[in-house]
Structure formats: structure tokens, C-alpha cells
Symmetry: C3
Subunit: 364 residues, 3 copies
């Protein structure tokens, strides 16, 4: 949400932007920034001051959340389970009269659906643009900024999916309404990271002290990288990286974990790792990453499969997660095991997105 | 709706599935199966027992409905006319808080629109996926079952359109929420068959004893085949098949009608058939079925046209139906004749779908 | 909305069409036609009488509105600003229970979004068809008329975007519910013209007596042509045409303005024109109009750019408008100037569409 842009809104324009957009209790700020109080949002001077350091009211990247913010989001997400259960008898009207625009420059039906379901479960309404690429078409050459300035006139919050890293930040810098990053290219997918951490907390009961095995494509998987960033905010975490050599976790994440004092270890023995983990997070090996080296893909792909043998050694209290979609890296026989958490994880995406929409639009 | 899948849902997962999903009064079961009472739905043991024999709460194929079920659906459909008329002054809230996902693996705007209108006319909400093929993309290789398990977490009922015969049944076996088949490839399109039979009843006043002329492409038309299956449940039906030789009704339907004691006859004289029928059901000759034999298509196509000459011999009380879209197999001059029922038939699709959504989600 | 078609609706069909569709106070008729009173709508005889001369209840072309009609629309549009501001605390229910179908035969996300937002801000619901071309596909060969007759059964108003000039009129002649033209090929885009004129009134305070500079592609721009038609309804208008030679305003518009006594002048000096105008309306030079003559395009494109130099001479009270999307014909430095009205103009599209939907569905 752009402060400068708002200060520049000229005369007869009636501000879209009421103080109800801002929650004084909302702590979704980077930890280094002071919390803004509701009144502050109407002061251009103060906004100018914070323009660079805060993104209050936008969800752009996993790292922006401190533990307090995460706790608040997870608390609200938990409340959302009851809200959803009450949908038929006493549907929520919390976001009645609010309009969410899903501005998707690349298709992601799964993510879009869960955002739209979240908005509806809270009584809000949705404007859908599945092929926004055409909207501000390359042919016509409209900038993302111009598109945002148009769409913000028609809605109360924008959920942006874009093919370019950094697009969400750019949109948020332009918009006078909140922006949620629903994935920007190889960049971030913060709501996925949030739902992953929420799922661990919901399944295991705690985050501090957990042992987490990350399995599969650790080099290219946006998901596991964001998860590593976010989990590093907790205490006494131990991470095991289990992946074929060609798709090993990259040094930037390892260095980041080191700097945060998070213990990590690489292993090629899935069974041994599984036997001591609280959470095994499996990912898909993405064929498209291997180009013409189909042989490498085939070798990598079959190497670490989650099957009955893994279940046999996995602790009773542990869970198996996966961002979905899956191919055969988790066999179907695993699905009926109570420790298979991946469909519950997908469902948690609904609760997390409900929580974010509520927090961004009306506060806690 | 899968019984086994539900029994397997593990611990912290809160059931999506409340008894309100089940109506004790709903008789949409195959006639051979005992009705389940509401309470039964929460008993995994009982569910296991019924898993194979019942599809309570799913609409998969025309044959699943017995006469009692059809009567109930038609009765509710009739009530829906009043509900729709009241939309502006006193809109229905019957499905308030319910969310329908239209999961369309191939486009069918007409069918999708009428389902979405039906949901809205009852106060419900809609999640739209027009290109679900991309959703669980062949490239990514997700199974239909996995997609269903994700989408059921975001919605209360799934309307599935798929390119593969049997897909609807597979989805219903997986889902813990009701599934409606909105056409699965060359397979079934049960809501079309229901609206066709409802239209006959609504226009003629009765189904027993009617004389029905099926005209056009009887070999490939999913519509006329399903209609034949469904009409066979009534008494003293007489069916005339009028079609070019290359697209004659196939033996499986003829044998089925024989086994049910339904009289049928083939004829090449449309005028003679029209003069003694209560209902003429015209269909489009589909060019794509003829491959490179354009000559056969052209010959077939022009052979049986519904025009002023047919109107002249058609009984005053009779009606002309067509599943739409039409080309020139019914001439435009017919449209203004009161016996032209095809646009009323399309409208009945709304009422039938409203009735099904109400029956599946909250019961009668 | 077709009168003849309605008269022909046969027996068991329950009219979709209640007197609430018709507002006795609504003056959206060509000025030559008498106003219809509410009761009239139920009389087939009277409808027949008016069939050709009135399009009461449809929005087809800019010229259909007289000054009284424009005043009424603008008055309601102004009220809509307050309705929108109240969305969060006290959302409007004015169109509760009404269903709008957006039938788009070519994509136009911007226009579609603003219509859908308008409907939602008034409490109404939306059925979306983004690729209606497939709906009544060329392959299947359904006529627009048949499509309209189906869709009108599922909705209360149709917003049509089509690639063929005249399609909106054809649809309105068929439909028994109101039709709004959201652009039909090279034909009309009346809601854009309305929002343009509304923006001038809203920004400048008056329409009579304004000096208006039309800049850019005046030959191909549907927008500037429609605006010229509409502005001619006001008094003492002076229009300056500023465009590269290859895309000059065509004679038909010049002759029309002459016949209406509107003063106009051609100029190649943007700065001089800007220095004496109340409104500068800039448009995009469309590359696709130049075919292979990229050289002509490049020359035309760079010729008249709205930048700091133009701002320096532009009167303080004046405004810069643009139908969007823009390329570089307005530089980004202009955006922060209070006289840059184009994003407010886009926003006015919401208010105008809210006003039209309200007027067509429930009246003032």
C-alpha cells in the first residue's frame, strides 16, 4: 500500500481508504518497524516516513512476520475453523461489503480457489481475473502500476499472482489498498509458508524444538526455501535436508540458517531421517527443471519415495506434509495413515487465508 | 461421496461434514438400497457397509433415480419456479453459507451458467474453475482424486464436468461432499436427462402414456440416450426413432427398452411420426462425428428439419424440444409457435439444478 | 429488450419479466419517444407499438441519451459514491436478488471488472462468461439470438461485449431483460462515453461552455468518437483536434458536430491548445492500426506526449483524461499532478455502471 501515491491523490477524488482498513492491533510489520496506529494512516507525513521501512497491511514475503505476528495469524486461523463450521447455520458476515480482486497473471487455480473460498466463508465478495496477463497485455503495454491503480478503484484488497519476482512489492508500493502476494515467479509465496508452519503447529502442537526433514527438490522448490526462512524464527529447530545431489539445498539458505543458529544436516538416508523427525516435508521433483537431462530427472525422481517402509519407521506422533500437487513421491497407500497430513495442510490454506483477509481488512 | 475416505480422516482434522449435509427425507438412492437416516452418516461402520451399493447424495447417472426420486425432484423443481419469481422482492436464503465449486475440465458455459444461476437463486455462493484441466494439469500429473480432496476442503458441493467417462463416479467415491455429474465425456449428463423429462411432464402434464419422437443423431447423442434410459421408468411409453441411417439408435438402448417393455419403432417419415406424437425431441447432427465424410454429414444433416410443414401436422397439444444449441435443424419460423418448447426447456435446467442443489445440501 | 419476442412466449412459461424491471421514472429513451409507464410493459399491444422506436431499458449507443437522461444518470452516479463509501459499514442491498450475466465474446477484463464490481457494490450477483465465443461456438454455430434467449433465462440483465458492430442492438431486440452494450467491435462503447462526460462534469463542474482538446489517434479511437457524439448535446462546446496526420478525426464526426452547431478546430500545436483548454483528452496511438508501416506508427506515436511541459501551460483548473491503458503518451511524472484525472476517470466507470444497473433494474 503506497503512502506517497495516496498523498498525491488530488481533489475531487474521495478516498477509498477509511481508517477501518487499518487495524491498530495488527502486528504484521517487520519487527524492526514501530507499529502504526490507526490514526497514523491518515497522515501523509507519517506515511512518507514509513514508506520504505514498513509494509503494514500488505503480505509480501515470509520474512516480514515476527513471532508475535505469526502467533496472531495462527490464533485467528484457529478461530476460522469454527467460523467455517458455522457457515451453514450462521454464516460469517465479518467481511460483508468487502470486495477482493484476484489478479492472477499466471493461472493457479488451487491458490485462487482457496483465497476465494476464504473470502466467501467470511461473507465477502470476489472479482476474478484469471488471465490478468491479457488485462494489461504485453501488446498494449500497460504497466503493473497502472493496472493496480485501476483495480484498486474497484476492490478493497488485491490478491496478486505474478510471473515476475518482485511484482508483489511493486504492486504494494503502488496500491492504496492491501496487497497479498499469492506467488511472484521464482520469488515468494508467503501464504504457502504460513500455512505450512501453521500445519506443523496444528499437528505437532509446538514449533520450538521440532525436527524437520525436508525431502525432494530443495534447490528449486520455492516452498521449502520459504519454509526454511520462516521456521528459523523458532527455537531449537533441527533441519535435515534429504535430496538427490542435483537438487541440493543452496548455500544461501544454509548460510541464513547458520546466521540464525538453526542446526541443519544433509543426509542421503531417508529412513534414518524419518525415524527421528517430527515432520517430514516431501516435495515434487519438477521435471521442467532438468531440461533435456531426462536421465537425471528419472534418477532423482525415484530416489526418495514416501511409502509404507517410511511409515514403518516414522514416529507415531510425526506427520508427513506435501505442498501438493504430488506425483508418486508419496504412494497412495500412505494416504489412509493418520500421519498423512497433506490434505489437512491444503485445508489449512483456507484458514490461513481467511485469517489474513480478516486481519488486513478489519483487524482482529 | 466416499465413506471409506471419511473413516480414514485422521486426528486433528475437523470433519467438514455435518449431519446437515444429509437429509433424512432425501430419496436419491438407487431403489435397491435402503435409505440412510441422518444419523447414519456419522457411523463409519455403516458407511463401510453401504459404500458400494449407495451413492446417497451424489448425482452420477440418469439410471440412479427411481420414480419416487424423480417425483420428488420434479416437485421441488416446480417449487423453484416460485422461488425464482420471488428473487427480487424476497430472495431465497435456503443455501446461504453454502459454497458450490464448479470443477469443469472442459468448457461448457451453458451448463456452468445454469448451475451457478441455480446456486445464486437459492442464496448460495460459487467458486468457478472453468479450466480445471490446468488445475491438476497433465503436465503436473495430479490425479482427479487428489484434486477432489483439495477442492472438497474449500466447498460444500462439487459440480464436475470431465472429458472422461466414469470420472464423476470416481470423484464421488473420493469426495466427502456431494458430487454432481455435469457431463463426463461420452458417459452421462444426468441433469440434462432430468430437465428433459421434467419438461415433458411440465408441458404435457403427464409422462405415462406419452408418444415420443426422437429425431436426428441418435447414435452419438448423449442426450437422447440418457432420455431413453430415464423415460423407460414410466408406463405405456411409445418411442419413435427418426434418424439418418448413419446415425441410427444403437442396439444397447433398443435392448434396454425391450427389457423394460417399452415399445419402440424406427421410421423414416418425420411428418407421419410428428402427426401422432406428444413430444418431438430434435437433436443436432454433429459434424465432428463424420470425420472426413462431409458428404455423409451434409446428407444426414438436411434430412429431418423441423419447419412449418412439421408444425402443420403436429397435434395442437404437442411440443417440440431440443437440447440446444441448434443449427438449422429447427427453422427460426418455428420459434414463435407456442409448441416450440426448447427455450422453456433450457429454463427448466435452472429449476432442476436448483432442486438438486437444495435436495443434496439441505433436503426437502 | 424485445417486445415481439415476449408477446410470443407461450403457455406454461412463467414470465421472467415483472413490472419491477421497468421504472416509470426512467428516461433512458431516445428523446423522440414517449416515456413508457410501468404498466405499459405488460401490454403486448403497446410493446409492439414501441418496438422499433424505443429501447427503453437497454443501453446500446451513446446517442440514445438526451440531456435529461444524462442528468439523471449523473445524479444517480453521484449518489453511488456515497453508496460505495458505505460498503463496509452498511452495504447496499438495492440489487439484492438480481443476477447480472457478463457475456463477453472478447476479453476486456477492465470493463468486465468494473461492471462486476458495480453489481456487487449494490448487493447484486454476477454470472461470468469470459469466453462466450466458445459458448455459442462458431464450430457449433449457435446464433447470438439463441444464446441470448438461453442466458436471459438465468439472469436479470445481460452485459454484452461482442466483436461485431450491431451485436448489442441485435441482442436487445431479442432479450426480454435489459441489455447493456459493453462495446461491440468498431461500433459503440456507450458506458465509456458516459463515464467520460461524467468525469468532465465531476472535475470541471459543468459541461456547457467547456473547451475540450482531443489528442492522439482520432481516426480509430472508438472512445473519442463516442465522446464527440455525446458532448455535442451540450451548449457552447469548443473542440480542438490534435493528432498526427495519419490518424486525423474523420469527416463523419466533423459533419455531425457542424450539424449540431459545435465549434471545432484542428491544430498541430499541443502546447497552444493545452493552454486554453478545460479538458485535454489524450488517447493511445494503436500500433495495430498501422499494419506494416511501423515508421508511420513511430512518428505518430512520439508526436504528442503529455509531459511536464504541457503541465506548465495547462490552466490550473483544467484536467487531463485518458481512457487507459496508456503507454508513454502521458509520462509518469504527470501522475502526481492534481490535474491528472485519468485514474479518477477509471473510478468513475464504477459509479456510472452502478447508476445504470440501478436505473435499469429498479429505477431511481
Amino acid at each position: 500500500m503506497a503512502a506517497a501515491a495516496r498523498a498525491a491523490l488530488p481533489r475531487p477524488h474521495l478516498s477509498l481508504f477509511s481508517s477501518s482498513h487499518r487495524s491498530p492491533h495488527l502486528s504484521l510489520t517487520p519487527s524492526s518497524a514501530p507499529r502504526l496506529r490507526s490514526g497514523a494512516a491518515t497522515s501523509p507525513a507519517l506515511q512518507q516516513h514509513h514508506q520504505v521501512t514498513t509494509r503494514l497491511g500488505d503480505v509480501i514475503e515470509a520474512q516480514q512476520f515476527d513471532r508475535d505476528a505469526l502467533n496472531e495469524i495462527f490464533e485467528v486461523a484457529r478461530e476460522m475453523e469454527a467460523v467455517e463450521r458455522g457457515s451453514h447455520g450462521a454464516p460469517s458476515r465479518v467481511l460483508e461489503g468487502y470486495l477482493m480482486a484476484t489478479l492472477f497473471y499466471e493461472p493457479s487455480t488451487r491458490t485462487r480457489l482457496s483465497f476465494e473460498a476464504a473470502m466467501r466463508r467470511l461473507g465477502g465478495e470476489v472479482l476474478t481475473t484469471e488471465n490478468a496477463r491479457e488485462f494489461s497485455s504485453a501488446a498494449k503495454g500497460e504497466t503493473l502500476e497502472d493496472t493496480i491503480r485501476t483495480v484498486e478503484g474497484y476492490s478493497d484488497i488485491i490478491v496478486l499472482r505474478h510471473f515476475e519476482s518482485g511484482a508483489a512489492r511493486k504492486a504494494a508500493d503502488t496500491a492504496n489498498i492491501p496487497v497479498i502476494n499469492a506467488g511472484d515467479g521464482p520469488g515468494q509465496h508467503p501464504t504457502q509458508a504460513l500455512l505450512d508452519v501453521y500445519t506443523i503447529k496444528r499437528e505437532i502442537g509446538t514449533l520450538d524444538g521440532i525436527k524437520l526433514g525436508l525431502v525432494g527438490d530443495l534447490a528449486n522448490g520455492r516452498t521449502v526455501r520459504s519454509l526454511a526462512y520462516l521456521i528459523a524464527k523458532y527455537q531449537n529447530i533441527k533441519i535435515y535436508f534429504v535430496s538427490p545431489d542435483v537438487v541440493k539445498m543452496k548455500d544461501d539458505i544454509k548460510n541464513y540458517l547458520n546466521s540464525k543458529g538453526v542446526e541443519w544436516e544433509e543426509s542421503s538416508d531417508l529412513l534414518e531421517v524419518a525415524s527421528k523427525c517430527d515432520v517430514i516435508y516431501q516435495t515434487r521433483i519438477q521435471k521442467e527443471r532438468f531440461g533435456e537431462r531426462i536421465d537425471l530427472y528419472e534418477a532423482a525422481r525415484g530416489k526418495y519415495i514416501m511409502d509404507k517402509k517410511v511409515l514403518d519407521v516414522l514416529p507415531k506422533h510425526a506427520v508427513i506434509m506435501h505442498p501438493l500437487p504430488r506425483l508418486d513421491e508419496i504412494t497412495v497407500e500412505v494416504d489412509s495413515d493418520p500421519r498423512a497430513a497433506y490434505f489437512r495442510q491444503a485445508k489449512n490454506g483456507l484458514y490461513i487465508r481467511m485469517a489474513l483477509l480478516k486481519l488486513l481488512l478489519v483487524g482482529h
